[in-house]
Subunit: 205 residues, 2 copies
DNA sequence: TGTACATCAGTGAACGCGCGTTCACTGATGTAC
DNA sequence: TGTACATCAGTGAACGCGCGTTCACTGATGTAC
């Protein structure tokens, strides 16, 4: 990061990075544009060269997050093939891994309260991410007899909700949030029981 | 609410109520102490007669929320008896119903970022709430053969996470959050599949 | 019933502060010739 | 290679604003006698 001199060189990304670490430590509403500027070593006014304001800055963090997230999900999905089951399980694991590894991005995406649809670019990249999980769910649903097959969108929503709940409740380092089990184990076992309920894993395994 | 005159009469609760509706509309970090005071028809300084500050005000909202929440869960649990299964399912439904009916409380409890353990009274009432779900899970686990019985705390955590995920992802009126299914149905079907996976509901129902 | 007095909830002014945003500017960089 | 000039990223001062918090105060209420 060549920061010396009058011109920063790569201020836009430096601001995003500063914002990400502020979000991580103080929450998406817990910091100011001025703080982000200072953290990037720059005057608050300089931010306006690259972003329309605070909201826009957070949106860019979320956008980059969705991009990374979708890539990870895609990679997990591909790697699990050709087994639909292992693909599906891998995407669940990837979800949690992402939340762990990129907490700032995760919070910008899911906890900042920004409206996805207000920003077309954001909507596009977000739907790329969710599309992959839906694809994995749809592949998997082929293995359920048609007459008792629930809509793929439904169990992709179940898994998404379970993943999100585990992240929010058991992953945060909040003093006071006691995690009864490691989140990874919790998610793994939860998904296992769920898939057994769908008849996709033998009952006695 | 007798508000006329110099003395308010019930300012403490009026402040809590004002805060709850501010949280509901602007998020737990999206309002100021001064706004809450103004909404209650009072000078910001008056707040300090009843609370130590903003944080303390939110904590009281959360405390009242946990109290209501625990009562609802308890009621649902009792009402489902003596069937352990129906008790368990009822607590899941109660969770979602609470989140829907008391969004301000819910956000103060789960999205405000306040540390439960920093406030002993808050920790006490919060554990009363989670204790009920764990009890329901423990009752239910008696119906699983001991050798394949997972810890009750584990599947209470699974259900808690699923409930929370459904609320966060599919209940919020955010423009852009399309809910593929009504949250109630999503939760109901998710829990159903999960319980089938545990062998507590016949596979072909 | 009336009066004196203690209590205490809420006031309003004051404080220092950091915010977001604007603006004319400055000075580094890159390019044309 | 050198020079003139256009570009534009970042500066720093300024603005009006609302914040949280403190303080001496005021005036309503309740109670003792």
């Amino acid at each position: 990061m060549p920061k010396r001199g009058y011109h920063h060189g790569n201020l836009k990304q430096a601001l995003v990075d500063a914002t990400l670490s502020l979000i991580e430590s103080k929450g998406p509403q817990g910091f100011t544009l001025s703080e982000a500027a200072k953290a990037a070593g720059v005057t608050p006014a300089a931010v306006y060269r690259h972003f329309q304001g605070r909201e826009d800055l957070i949106a860019e963090c979320a956008r980059q997050g969705y991009e990374i997230f979708a890539d990870l999900m895609e990679y997990a999905y591909e790697k699990g093939r050709p087994s639909a089951l292992s693909s599906f399980e891998a995407t669940g694991r990837a979800y949690l891994a992402f939340a762990r590894k990129y907490p700032g991005h995760y919070m910008a995406m899911f906890e900042s309260g920004l409206s996805i649809n207000a920003n077309p670019e954001l909507a596009r990249v977000a739907s790329r991410a969710s599309g992959i999980l839906e694809k994995a769910a749809s592949d998997l649903s082929q293995h359920i007899p048609p007459e008792k097959r629930p809509p793929a969108a439904m169990f992709s929503a179940h898994i998404w909700a379970l993943c999100h709940g585990v992240v929010e409740l058991y992953t945060r380092g909040d003093p006071g949030a006691r995690a009864p089990f490691p989140p990874e184990d919790l998610l793994e076992s939860g998904i296992g029981i769920y898939l057994r309920g769908l008849g996709l894993i033998p009952q006695d395994s």
